[in-house]
C-alpha cells in the first residue's frame, strides 16, 4: 500500500495543482517541488526498509482489478527495480527544480511532469502484464506533451516521432502479452496476467519463445534505444526542454533496459541465450557507432544524445552477459547513466538558458568566465567518461568483466568504447570550456546561481559516492541478480524445452501453423 502511495503521489499532486489558479506561479512551482521532494524522501524509506537478503518482491500489494480477465493491480519491488524507482523520484524532483525558469504554461508543465512521474514509477513497480503495459503507455503522453509544447523549434516533429516510434514497439509487445496470456491459460487453465505467476510457469518451446522475445525486444530495444532503433532519441533530446531531456535520459531509457531484465530474461531464458550474438552485436555497434557519431556533433544536446546510445550499449551488453558481474554492472550503469547524463543535460540546459544556443562553435573558454560551472561540468564529464573514482567506472568495468567471461572479442570491441568516450567528451569539453574566450557574447555570462548549484551538487555527490563506495548500491542488487542469473542459466531450462510445452492442439492450431517458421 505504501508503494502505491509513493507511486501515485505525483499524480495526486498533479490533481492538486489543477486547482491552483494559474496566476500563482510561485505557489504552483513550490507545491510541485514539495510533492516531488516528499515523494523522493518517501521512496528512500523504501530503501531503508528493503530486505537485502531475498530476491522476492517486497512491499507487494495485490488486489483484483479486472477479475473476469484475471488482471490484478499487483505492485512490488525488488533489487532490480528499487534503485531505478528511487532514481526516478530523485530525477523528478531535480527536473522540477530545473524547470523553475519555464516561461509559458507553468501549471500545465508541472502537472505533466508530475503525471509523468507516476507513469514512470508505475512501470518499475508493476508486476502484472496489463498493469505494466498500462503504465508503459501512460507515461508516453505527458512526455509527448512536454516535448511538444515546451520543446525547441522542431518539437512537433520530435514529439510525434518519439510517440509513434515507441508506440510501434510497445504495440507489438501488447500482442506478445496477449499471446502469453493464452499460452498460460492453455497450460494451467488460469486466466491471469500476473507476472510472478507467469514467470514461474511459462514454459514454452524455443520457436515460440523466439517470436515472443522478438516482440518484447522491439518494445524495449526502441526504448533503450539500441542501434538501429535509436534515431528518435537525438531528435527528442534536442527538442525537449532541459528537464524533459533529463527525464528522458535518466529514466525513460532505463525503462527499456529494465524491461529486458524483468521480462525478456526471466520469461524467455532460452531465446535470450539464442539471441545473445545478435544483441551483443547490436550493442557493440551501438557503443562504437554512438561514440563516433557523437564525436562530430555540432549541437551539445545531440552529442550527449548519441553518447547515450553508446552508454546504453554497455548496459545492454552487461545484461546479456547473463552473469553476476554483467547484470550488476548493467544495473549500476543504468543509475550512473541516469545521473551523469541527466547532469550533462542540466549543464547544457544552464548554458542554453544563458546563451540560447547549444552549438559548440558558439562557445569556448567558458572556464574563465564561469569557474563553478567549469568544475561541475568537468566532474560530470569525467564521470561520463568512466574515470575510476567516479560513478561511471565501476559499472562499466563490471559490464566489461561480465561480457569478458562470455567472449573475449565482444569485450575487446566494447572496451574500445572507453577510448571513444574520452575522445568525444574531452574534445567537446575542450571546445566549450577551454581555449580562448573569443565570442563577445560569452564574455559576460554569469556563473551558476544558487538554484543551479543545488541541482548539480547532489548529483555530483552521488557520483563520488557511487564511484568511491558503491557497495550499498551493489548489495541492493545482489539477491535479485543472483536469482536472475539462475533463471537465465542454460542449465536450468530443458534443452529444446519443447515436448511437454506444446500448445493444446484444439486452441491455437492456426496460430502455430502461422507463426512458426
Amino acid at each position: 500500500m505504501f508503494l502505491t502511495l509513493v507511486t501515485f503521489l505525483p499524480l495526486v499532486a498533479a490533481g492538486i495543482l489543477a486547482f491552483i489558479p494559474k496566476e500563482n506561479e510561485e505557489t504552483i512551482k513550490q507545491t510541485a517541488l514539495a510533492f516531488a521532494v516528499a515523494d523522493f524522501l518517501l521512496s528512500l524509506q523504501l530503501w531503508a526498509d528493503f530486505d537485502l537478503t531475498t530476491h522476492k518482491m517486497q512491499f507487494e500489494f495485490n488486489v483484483p482489478w479486472i477479475e473476469t480477465w484475471g488482471i490484478n493491480y499487483h505492485v512490488g519491488i525488488d533489487g532490480i527495480s528499487l534503485l531505478l524507482y528511487i532514481m526516478t523520484t530523485f530525477l523528478t524532483a531535480i527536473s522540477i527544480l530545473a524547470s523553475w525558469e519555464v516561461k509559458k504554461y507553468i501549471k500545465e508543465y508541472m502537472m505533466a511532469m508530475l503525471a509523468l512521474g507516476t507513469g514512470m514509477l508505475g512501470v518499475f513497480v508493476a508486476l502484472d502484464f496489463f498493469l505494466f503495459y498500462f503504465f508503459w503507455e501512460f507515461q508516453l503522453v505527458p512526455m509527448y506533451i512536454i516535448i511538444g509544447v515546451w520543446g525547441g523549434p522542431r518539437r512537433i516533429y520530435a514529439a510525434v516521432k518519439f510517440f509513434l516510434y515507441t508506440a510501434v514497439g510497445s504495440l507489438l509487445m501488447l500482442v506478445a502479452i496477449i499471446w502469453i496470456y493464452f499460452i498460460v491459460q492453455d497450460k494451467t487453465g488460469v486466466y491471469t496476467t500476473d507476472l510472478m505467476y507467469i514467470t514461474q510457469r511459462l514454459d514454452i518451446p524455443l520457436s515460440t519463445q523466439k517470436w515472443l522475445f522478438m516482440a518484447f525486444f522491439m518494445a524495449f530495444a526502441i526504448k533503450v534505444p539500441m542501434f538501429p532503433f535509436h534515431t528518435w532519441l537525438p531528435d527528442a533530446h534536442v527538442e525537449a526542454p532541459t528537464a524533459g531531456s533529463v527525464i528522458l535520459a535518466g529514466v525513460l531509457l532505463k525503462m527499456g533496459t529494465y524491461g529486458f531484465l524483468r521480462f525478456n530474461l526471466p520469461l524467455f531464458p532460452h531465446a535470450s541465450n539464442e539471441f545473445l550474438p545478435l544483441i551483443a552485436a547490436l550493442s557493440i555497434i551501438g557503443i562504437i557507432y554512438g561514440a563516433l557519431v557523437s564525436m562530430v556533433q555540432e549541437d551539445l544536446k545531440k552529442l550527449i544524445a548519441y553518447s547515450s546510445v553508446s552508454h546504453l550499449g554497455f548496459v545492454m551488453l552487461g545484461i546479456f552477459a547473463f552473469n553476476h558481474y554483467g547484470l550488476e554492472g548493467a544495473l549500476l550503469q543504468n543509475l550512473n547513466h541516469g545521473l551523469s547524463t541527466g547532469a550533462l543535460f542540466l549543464i547544457v540546459g544552464m548554458i542554453y538558458d544563458r546563451r540560447h544556443t547549444r552549438l559548440i562553435k558558439e562557445f569556448g573558454g567558458l572556464s574563465k568566465q564561469m569557474p563553478k560551472y567549469a568544475i561541475c561540468f568537468m566532474i560530470i564529464t569525467f564521470s561520463s567518461i568512466g574515470l575510476p573514482g567516479l560513478n561511471g567506472f565501476v559499472g562499466e568495468f563490471l559490464v566489461l568483466l561480465g561480457i569478458f567471461q562470455v567472449n573475449l572479442m565482444y569485450a575487446a570491441l566494447a572496451t574500445s568504447g572507453v577510448i571513444f568516450a574520452a575522445c568525444y567528451m574531452l574534445w567537446m569539453f575542450q571546445r566549450v570550456m577551454f581555449q580562448e574566450l573569443k565570442n563577445p557574447e560569452n564574455m559576460k555570462l554569469p556563473d551558476l546561481n544558487f538554484r543551479e548549484l543545488v541541482l548539480l551538487v547532489p548529483i555530483i555527490v552521488l557520483c563520488f559516492w557511487i564511484g568511491l563506495y558503491p557497495q550499498p548500491v551493489i548489495k541492493t542488487f545482489d539477491a535479485s541478480v543472483a536469482h536472475l542469473v539462475d533463471q537465465v542459466n542454460p542449465k536450468n531450462f530443458a534443452p529444446g524445452g519443447a515436448v511437454h510445452a506444446e500448445l493444446k492442439p484444439g486452441h491455437a492450431a492456426n496460430g502455430k501453423s502461422e507463426v512458426k517458421e
Binding site: L140, G148, V160, V168, V175, A508, V515
Partner: protein, 477 residues
Amino acid sequence: MDLIPAPSIDLISLAPALVLSVFGMGVLILDLFIGKDKSILVFISLLGLFLTTVVTFAKGGLPVYSFQGSYVVDHFSIFFIFIFAISSALAIMLSVNYNRQENIKVGEYYSLILFCTVGMIILASSTDLIMIFLGIEIVSICLYILAGIRRNDARSNEAALKYFLLGAFATGFLLYGMALLYGATGSTQLMKIALALKTGKVVSKPLLLMGAVLLIIGFGFKVASVPFHMWAPDVYQGAPTPITAFMSVGPKAAVLASFFRVFVHAMPDMAESWILVLSIVAVLSMFVGNLGAIAQTNIKRLLAYSSVSHIGYILIALIAKNSLGSASLLFYLLAYAFTTFGAFAIVIILGRRGDEKLEIDSYSGLAYRHPVLALCMAIFLMSLGGLPPLAGFVGKFYIFSAAIKEGHVPLVVIAVLNTAVSFYYYLKVIVYMYMREPAGEFHPTLAPLSLLVVAIAVFGTLQLGIFPGPIISLAQQ
C-alpha cells in the same frame, strides 16, 4: 390443425421495440400540435429511450424466441439495445443545440431517430433473414432522411443522395445474397440455415458461397468497410454533425450485431471461406481507413476514415468467432460509442452558426483557450487510438485477445501496426490543440445538454478504461 394458427407473440420480449415505436409515433403526432419550441419532443424522446431500456431488462429466462424463432431476446441483443439507447439518447441531446444553431426546425427529426432505433433493435434481435432485411431497411431509410435533413444545405443534400443511391444499391446485393442463401439452404431462419449447413443439406455450394459474398457486401456497405466504405467520408461530412455521430455508432452497431448473427451463428460451418474474405476486408479497412485519415484536414472526414479503420478492428472480433469475440464486440462498441460521441460533441460545441470549425487547423491552440474541452478531446482521441487507461485500449485489448486465442496472430500484428499509424492522425489533432499557438478566437456554444454528453462520454471512456470489470462481465454473459 388450425387453418389460421394463432401467432404466439410474446409481447414482453417485443416490448422495447413496441415502446419505442409508440413513442416515435407519439413524437410525430405531438409535433403537429406544438409550436416552434420543440424541446418537449426532446424530453419525450429521451423518456422513450429510457423506458425502452427499462423494459429491455424486464424479460427473464433468456434467451426467449418469438415469431417461430425469428426474433430473439438474449443477452447479446439486450446489450445491444443498451448501446442503441445510449447512442440515440446522446445523439438527441447533442442535436438540441445543434438544431437551434443550424436552424433545423423539424419535429420529425426526433421521431426519425426513434424509428431508426426501433429498426436497430429489430436488427439486433432478428434471427431471420426477412426480419434482418426489414430492420436494415428501417434503419437505412431513416438515416437517408436524417442525413439530408438540412434541406437547404448543398452538402447535406449531396450526402443524402449519395448515401441513398449507394445504400439502395447495396441493399440490392444484400437482398440477392439473402435470396441465394435461402435458395441454397431452404430456409430464411438462421438456426435452420446453420442446421442445414451442419448436416450438409445444401442445394448448391456455389450458390451458398455467392450468397455469402453478397451478404458480406451488403453488410460491409452498411458498416462502411473497405471497399464498400466510400460513401462514409462524404456522408459523414455532409450530414449534420449529431447525425454523423449517431450514424457512426448506433446503426453500425446494429448491423454488426446482425452481421455477427448471420455469419458466426448461422454459418460457422463454412467459416474458412468467409473468414478469408472478412480478413481481407478487415485488413483493407484498417489500411485504407488509417491511410485515408492521415491526409484529412476536415475533422469530420478524419473521424469518418477513422471509423472505417475501427470497423477493421471490429471485424477481427467477428473473425475470431468465439465467445470472446462476441463479448469483445459488445465491449468495443460500447467503448466506441462513448468515445465517438464525446469527440463529435466537442466538434459540435466548438462550432457555431456560419463557423462550424470543422477544419483541423481551426483547433490551433484550443488547449490554451479552453483547456477542459481540449483535454476531453484529447482523451477521446487517445481512446480512439487505443491508449491506456482509456476505454478504447481495453476494447482493442479485448478484440486482440479474442483473435489471438484463435491464433490469428498475423492479423493482430497488422492491426497493431495500423494502430500505430492511427496514432499519427489522432496526435495531429492534439498537436494542433496543444502545440500550436491559437490562430483565431473560439466561441464554443456551451449548451448544458452538449456538455452533459461530454461529461457522460468522458466518464464512460475513463470508467471503461480503468475499471472495465463490470461491463466485461456483462458482455461475457
